[in-house]
């Protein structure tokens, strides 16, 4: 660089940096890929919305830094003595951000609103038959059957003020058109909305009347959605934002290589797996086997499991950041079956033997469907898996597509084998049993993501018992049985737990929760 060049650079640099607005020390700016679609906590059951609104609204219970359930607007809860259900004792002296007092009426109202047809979160209340206000600060939730996990399942059920919602014509969640609650908030939580420009910028400020001890030191928090990951990384490295979630795996080295920035890594609760068309009579995408579906034979499914070399996938595609999975939930989820921790090892010899036993010594070809914008490295994973399958004679015809197109294809049974990731919303093993392992049953709303319709009478029989069992040991025994059955039958091939990768400036302390929720109340800017 010549001297004149340097001079110009310095001059220009100082001239421009004078114009830059200095951010105050405690103003916190963060970015994520998706803007919360709405500020209404009952309208959409999606992670970006629930994660964001947990800073503003609160539920009866909440999740701590380690995902454990702790008191929030309810100080305690216990099962009802003479009928099935739970009693919640509410916190006194809590006010909404507009000053109104929080009482049991607000809980009843929020239940009615959240369980209405207009609300997307109504599935949480499927077990509930009635909600009774017992006193100003006591509420009973009556359930159809004993439901030991009910308090855990409503951690994201957020409470609205009845009068506020009704007087602003927002008594029901906005479904077809927006209403007052789409753009305005009135929660009890640690932060409140200062301004909102959807898709561009949302500003939160602390709620000075919050009931709990303040642990953060944020005076203003500005959220910007940045869809393009390269732009997001540039925004972090240039110092315009303090924190971003998530960053792509390939950018980890970039961030770690720079002074003043850090990468936060954890395990998400999402298990990535392959699923099969269990009830298909024939393969849809095969060039050699057209009159049968070899995947109905458990030996063939096991052969496919033995073909996967998870260590190589970890090393090559994920830079050593994934945890191999043995079942549909990771080890730190309640209900995880410790008795069934083993997974089919990488054994090509065994895979070929199994295929020969099943009558396919030369293998066969089939169609493998994968999304390309849903999970980390999903397309690359499927390419790697396809070549691993091919090594034992399973020739996968891979087709990939965006997720908006992917679910409809799976719903229409348009696959031989498919990729799926599952994060248990209740953080309990019962969740994947209900959605992925129970036979499809639209009436009972069970097995709705069991695309291949894996069906086992014993599993179907055990699910309601698991849901109602109060005794932890008996419950775990039944979950162990389900896991053992589904491993034995290779209902799915569990692959690994997806990593969670965030990046921040060095001076920011925050908590990375396994559900990928980002809570401002644990942020300190030093």
């Amino acid at each position: 660089m010549t001297l004149s060049n340097l001079a110009i650079r310095t001059l220009l640099g100082s001239a421009l940096s004078v114009c830059a607005v200095a951010a105050s020390a405690d103003e916190f700016r963060w970015a994520s890929t998706t803007d919360p679609q709405t500020m209404d906590p009952h309208a959409v059951n999606s992670a970006p919305v629930l994660s964001f609104l947990n800073n503003i609204y609160e539920g009866l219970v909440r999740r701590g830094q380690d995902m454990s359930i702790e008191p929030s607007l309810a100080t305690s809860w216990e099962p009802l003595a003479d009928e099935d259900g739970w009693r919640f004792n509410l916190r006194e002296g809590v006010t909404f951000q507009d000053g109104a007092a929080f009482t049991a009426e607000d809980v009843l109202f929020s239940y009615q609103r959240a369980s209405d047809e207009t609300a997307d979160v109504r599935s949480w209340f499927a077990p509930v038959t009635e909600v009774r206000v017992v006193g100003d600060y006591t509420v009973d939730f009556i359930t159809k059957a004993p439901n030991p996990l009910f308090p855990d399942s409503i951690a994201n059920f957020m409470i609205l003020d009845k009068d506020w919602a009704e007087s602003n014509d927002a008594a029901l969640a906005a479904r077809d058109a927006e209403n007052f609650a789409t753009m305005n908030v009135n929660g009890t939580g640690p932060f409140t909305l200062a301004s909102r420009d959807p898709g561009v910028r949302t500003t939160l400020v602390p709620n000075t009347a919050w009931w709990d001890d303040v642990q953060h030191n944020v005076t203003e928090a500005v959220f910007t959605p940045i869809g393009n990951s390269a732009t997001g990384l540039a925004a972090l490295l240039s110092g315009e934002i303090d924190f971003i979630q998530p960053i792509p795996l390939q950018d980890v080295a970039q961030v770690e290589g720079r002074d003043g920035f850090k990468v936060l890594e954890g395990e998400e609760t999402r298990v990535i797996m392959f699923g099969f068309g269990h009830e298909h009579d024939t393969l849809l995408y095969s060039s050699d086997v057209t009159d049968a579906n070899p995947f109905t034979d458990p030996r063939v499914r096991l052969a496919a499991a033995h073909a996967i070399d998870i260590a190589s996938i970890d090393r090559v595609l994920f830079r050593g950041k994934i945890e191999a999975a043995s079942q549909l939930v990771p080890a730190d989820i309640s209900g995880f079956s410790e008795a069934n921790q083993g997974r089919a090892d990488f054994n090509q010899e065994r895979a070929r033997e199994l295929l020969a036993e099943a009558g396919y010594p030369d293998g066969f070809s089939f169609g493998l469907k994968c999304p390309n914008d849903r999970y980390i490295n999903d397309e690359a994973l499927c390419r790697a898996a396809a070549s691993m399958f091919a090594a034992v004679g399973l020739n996968a015809e891979l087709s990939t597509g965006p997720v908006r197109d992917y679910w409809p294809q799976l719903r229409e049974d348009d696959f031989d084998m498919y990729l799926l990731g599952w994060s248990p919303g209740t953080f309990d093993m019962e969740h994947p049993v209900r959605f992925l392992l129970h036979s499809q049953d639209n009436e009972k709303k069970l097995g709705s993501w069991n695309f291949g319709n894996y069906s086992n009478a014993r599993v179907d029989e055990l699910l309601p018992q698991i849901q109602q069992e109060i005794d932890p040991a008996a419950r775990q025994a039944m979950l162990d049985e389900v896991v053992a059955i589904t491993q034995e039958e290779v209902a799915y091939i569990p692959l690994y737990t997806q990593p969670l990768i965030w990046a921040a400036k060095d001076n920011v302390d925050l908590t990375q929760r396994a559900d990928n929720f980002f809570m401002l109340r644990w942020v300190t800017v030093n």
Binding site: L12, C19, D120, D176, E178, G227, R404, R411, G425, N442
Partner: protein, 324 residues
């Protein structure tokens, strides 16, 4: 003249209808809005009910008819994704896109026309060769690569300019403008440059070619022989005559700049219509996609009309014909 404008506006309605029809026939292949609107725990029955209520089970022609009828009555519908009125969502994003497009156009004209004249008058100069080479490189690199490069040089390495967003904006009668603050201009510079590079190259090469052509014509030679000063010759006589085709092409290109600012907007997280469209595709937000495409079609028609009117202003011969 009034008749001419009216005729074009009536034509534009048919263009927009055709675009809406094509767009609608493609939407079925974009994906399923319902799975994007609802959470994983939503039951199949609830999904079906929503699908029915939104009329997604109806025949294609019925859905299209409803969409057009609503728009003709001024009802642009509500977004599936945010539940906001589509008209307001798009109106909020128009200023960002228009300002970006106009500044990009301005950059391409201010740099492109003088550079075109220079390279035409000194075709063998070293500077000419250098300019032609660099612009060729600039036009060969995809827009998003140029954008990312600019961001990493000026935003990350040098730290001079912001890497995303619009910076400081000012509300002027409902129009959110970034043209009145220094912060706004700093944020505008890189995306406008990214978007304008292609236009700039095109303008320059067009001006150069036309100028060289004109310089060879008889009237310029006669003027030269008569001793008209070179400056007057170049800029009054020659340049004015090169501008007619240049304006046509640039005008037509401007519609494209507005429509295809999508890539630039995505790279710079520029909150314009293009970015809104991209988000809408991801969520299969059919109402927003439909209205966006119709609005873009309208822009194209409008720009074409303006170009035609500009002709008349620049070229006296057209006026005479109009009178006849």
């Amino acid at each position: 003249m009034v008749y001419f404008i009216l005729k074009r506006l009536v034509q534009s309605v048919f263009v927009m209808l055709a675009v809406a029809f094509l767009a609608f026939s493609l939407f079925r292949f974009v994906g399923d809005p319902i799975t994007q609107m609802t959470g994983v725990e939503t039951s199949v029955a609830d999904q079906e009910r929503l699908r029915e209520e939104l009329g997604l089970n109806d025949a294609f022609l019925l859905q299209f008819g409803r969409f057009t009828a609503d728009i003709l009555q001024g009802d642009f519908g509500y977004s599936y994704r945010t539940r906001q009125p589509v008209a307001q969502m798009i109106a909020d994003r128009i200023p960002a896109t228009l300002e970006l497009g106009l500044v990009a156009l301005l950059i391409s004209l201010i740099v492109g026309i003088p550079a075109g004249v220079y390279t035409a008058l000194k075709p063998r100069g070293f500077a000419t060769q250098a300019i032609l080479m660099t612009t060729l490189v600039g036009v060969s690199i995809p827009t998003f690569v140029i954008g990312i490069m600019l961001i990493f040089i000026f935003g990350v390495q040098l730290g001079w300019l912001p890497t995303f967003g619009r910076g400081g904006t000012v509300q002027i009668g409902g129009w959110e403008s970034s043209l009145f603050t220094i912060e706004g201009w700093r944020a505008l510079l890189l995306p406008a440059l990214t978007l304008g590079v292609y236009q700039l190259t095109l303008t320059m090469r067009l001006v150069r070619a036309e100028m060289m052509e004109v310089m060879r014509t008889d009237y310029i030679r006669f003027a030269m022989a008569r001793g008209v000063p070179m400056k007057k010759l170049h800029y009054k006589h020659a340049l004015a005559n090169t501008m007619v085709p240049v304006i046509t092409i640039i005008g037509l290109q401007f519609g494209g700049v507005i429509a295809f600012s999508i890539v630039t907007e995505s790279v710079f997280q520029w909150p314009g219509m293009g970015l809104l469209f991209l988000e809408s595709i991801r969520f299969v937000d059919i109402p927003v996609m439909g209205v966006y495409l119709v609005v873009i079609a309208f822009f194209f028609v409008l720009v074409n009309l303006l170009v035609d009117l500009l002709y008349v202003a620049i070229d006296p011969r057209l006026r005479v014909r109009d009178v006849q």
